[in-house]
């Protein structure tokens, strides 16, 4: 194939699609997880708080805190990780408050999403962008 301007542009577009693919696949996996958790229900933004740092120097231990008063379960996802699910917290009858903190791994700068299943059966979603300077997940 002769390398004309048109051919070069087609090649460039192809490369762009190829590199964009893994991100799209990971995001779709995250969407599937969310759909499985909520059953495809609409999500509000009231009633849930996700606390995460704006900048994490080390993606291997990023402290996060989720809080959703009255929730029965909270799912946390890192949409930019090779496997998006992070953890699911189920609160039993003796939990004094529906909040919990832990430390997570992030592969790179991305959105962390928390979805709570509230007592009335509705769902709430909160997200926070974390800038990661050194990635976790072996990255």
């Amino acid at each position: 194939m002769e390398l004309t301007r048109r051919n070069a542009m087609i090649l460039g577009a192809g490369a762009l699609v190829a590199t964009g693919l893994p991100v799209a696949v990971a995001a779709a996996a995250g969407d599937d997880q969310i759909a499985a958790f909520t059953g495809g229900a609409e999500m509000g933004s009231e009633g849930i708080t996700l606390t995460a740092p704006e900048i994490a120097e080390n993606g291997n231990t990023v402290p996060i805190e989720v809080s959703a008063p009255g929730a029965t379960a909270i799912m946390v996802l890192a949409l930019g990780n090779p496997t998006p699910p992070v953890a699911t917290f189920n609160f039993g009858p003796l939990a004094a408050s529906q909040n919990a903190s832990t430390r997570i791994r992030l592969a790179g700068t991305q959105d962390v999403v928390a979805i709570a299943k509230l007592a009335d059966g509705s769902f709430a979603r909160a997200s926070s962008t974390v800038k990661v300077t050194i990635g976790g997940c072996g990255g």
Partner: protein
């Protein structure tokens, strides 16, 4: 069984009735995510703790599902109310089938 696994739990010794007490737990575990590669470029197989539960006198406080994105030495902090004196049971379930348990007593006045 993963080596050097040691659960550590911090629970207050005493509490008032209806008081919310904070519990902190940490278990030393390498939590191999399955994403890393060894020196020769072969992927290191996943080896994580996939579930953690905390119960008080048989009633559930929290039940957490862990995924590879939880950091090495998984740490959790949460709150519980205790209706009477009794014992907290903490249980971690490893991918390889091992179960790590520890218990802490609390006196309610």
């Amino acid at each position: 069984m993963a080596k050097g696994v040691k659960p550590r739990v911090k629970v207050p010794k005493k509490a008032a009735v209806g008081e919310a007490i904070t519990i902190k737990t940490l278990i030393s575990h390498k939590m191999e995510s399955g994403q890393r590669k060894d020196g020769e470029g072969n992927p290191i197989p996943r080896s994580i703790i996939n579930r953690f539960t905390c119960d008080f006198n048989g009633e559930n406080v929290v039940d957490i599902t862990l995924e590879p994105a939880i950091s090495t030495n998984p740490f959790f902090e949460f709150e519980a109310t205790v209706p009477e004196s009794g014992e907290f049971q903490f249980t971690w379930y490893d991918d390889d089938g091992s179960v790590y348990e520890t218990a802490k007593k609390i006196a309610v006045e």
